[in-house]
């Protein structure tokens, strides 16, 4: 009987809870831990950018145009004499913000809509599912580019565009998970004792579909960071002179023959941050869903 009561299914109730066991499995995965360390590193970089960056990221200097890396400028300088290291450090803010905010938007829209579709069913479900299919028919980045183009170029519009474009993935995932969970005995039991619908959906179903959503969110942050860099690379994200890795690469491609360092560092930063979220996501999937192995 105890397995069927809602309380027993909730995470964080006793020391051997599924959440605790998943955490232990996660801590044993070297790849995931490496990912976590890099993520924490970039978060600290973004938080303490004013202290860490040796120079003002937007201060130009005509006496230090396209200087190769040296003790004075560790990563070199760009085409108008700005310190590349300082811009890479400050650029972490735009990338992390874009990753977190876009995925926040996708989840805030996608999870309730998916929950609604699966829980209510019928026409509501058909309508939402067809609409989700349509959004998925437009390639993710093309939809994001189109949305950003119509909304106008800025970092916040880029985040909205990316967030909205990634929403159908969360609708579909939440819907599929809820459909599987809502026929379980403990949901039936919760309904039998007279819980209202909202309480069943939020307290009994939602906590049981969280694992795949957490995995998907982590991988989606990686995709959103690449998407933000792509939009900035095309001039649709963070606007100059504010530093962002994507727009730094856009300028760098014009100077690749005489100032290659301008292209190396921002790209490496994007790569490392995206890699770390991918590693963390893969690790979380293995830890939360042992069957997947």
């Amino acid at each position: 009987m105890s397995a069927a009561t809602p309380q027993a299914m909730m995470p964080n109730v006793n020391p051997a809870s599924p959440a605790r066991r998943a955490l232990r499995r996660l801590l044993r995965r070297r790849g995931a831990m490496l990912g976590l360390v890099i993520v924490v590193f970039f978060v600290l970089l973004a938080l303490f950018a004013p202290v860490i960056a040796p120079y003002d990221p937007i201060a130009t200097s005509w006496s230090a145009v396209r200087k190769a890396p040296s003790m004075q400028y560790l990563f070199g300088t760009d085409e108008i004499g700005r310190d590349v290291l300082s811009r890479v450090v400050w650029g972490a803010r735009a990338s992390l913000l874009a990753g977190l905010v876009s995925v926040g938007i996708s989840m805030a829209l996608g999870v309730p809509i998916g929950l609604l579709a699966a829980y209510v069913g019928g026409w509501t479900d058909s309508l939402i599912s067809r609409f989700t299919d349509s959004m998925l028919a437009v390639p993710f980045l093309i939809l994001a580019i189109a949305l950003a183009a119509f909304l106008g170029p800025s970092l916040s519009n880029a985040m909205i565009a990316i967030g909205v474009s990634a929403t159908p993935i969360f609708i579909r995932l939440t819907r599929a998970q809820v459909l599987a969970v809502k026929v379980e005995d403990f949901v039936e039991a919760a309904r039998a004792v007279g819980n209202p619908h909202w309480r069943i959906a939020l307290r009994h179903i939602l906590p049981n579909v969280l694992s795949p959503l957490i995995v998907q969110a982590t991988l989606a942050i990686a995709a959103a960071i690449i998407a933000e860099a792509s939009l900035s690379f095309l001039g649709l994200g963070q606007q100059p002179p504010a530093p962002s890795w994507g727009s730094m690469l856009n300028t760098a491609k014009n100077y690749v023959d005489n100032a290659p360092w301008m292209a190396v560092w921002p790209g490496l930063a994007i790569f490392l941050l995206v890699l770390s979220f991918n590693l963390l996501g893969d690790g979380l999937r293995d830890a939360l869903d042992p069957k997947h192995m």
Binding site: S134, V138, I142, I145, L275
Partner: protein
Amino acid sequence: MLHYLLKRLAAIVPTIFFVTIIIFGLQQLLPGDPAVILAGEDQDPNVIAYLQKKMHLDEPLPVRYGYWIAGVVHGDLGESLRIQQPVLGLIEEKLPVTLELAVIAMLIALVIGIPAGIVSAVGKDTVWDYAANVIALWGLSTPNFWLGILMILLFSVSLGWLPASGYVSPFEDLQANLAAMIMPAFVLGNAIAAVLMRHTRSAMLQVLNADYVRTARAKGLDERSVVLKHALRNALTPIITLGALEFGTLLSGAVLTEQVFSIPGFGKLIVDAVFNRDYAVVQGVVLFTSSVYIVLNLLADLAYFLVNPRLRG
């Protein structure tokens, strides 16, 4: 068979309907009067008046959608304000370039991804498996425009082997065309190779444990023909359909890759349109891309259906 076909075809109708709603809806995101914004920086009153009339801006929204969709059905995707050309004509002109890029990229992805996936599944938990997984993770995490710049740095600037940019039509000079296409195609195929590798690996792992593979081994077939003839053939089916679905990734990737290598294709068309605020072109390109994607998806489903006798019933 016919029943399935009809059902599958009918399912497309609402999808396409909602896609057109989304694309038409993009216009509503423009702040202010669309005609004024679409008229561009010149703000020519004649152009504004022409646009207001052409877009039926005095009519209610559903009626405007009706006019727009009627045009689309007749192949009228609107007109580029910048170059005064029909959008469909522009797409037809640019598409072959991107198509060539996409085909070469897909070939590269298949040649790298599938063997890597097989090796990694057969040698599960060995150094090979580990190496293949590391390479796949690299492929998934590298922004392709950065990889493009790095390749230009190595092969064009340092070694001087390949041109950094400049597109040559294959009908003019095939060798120059391939020299200009190989780097962008590799950049584009790289990420898809990683996806294919991961899927081949998991499909192969599933199949390698199947009963009929054990039977093949038990009757004394050598491992090579067990893997390549018995296992791979069955593992390939889902991978083929995946190839069609990766078309979206190819087109998205082409937008950035063409920008890096200055290739005058489909991706460059949408980027230029975005910069020139040529919104009709943006809408047209998105509509065209999604329609092709939906059709490819349908074809992949049908192919899957045809090669899988159990579904035919």
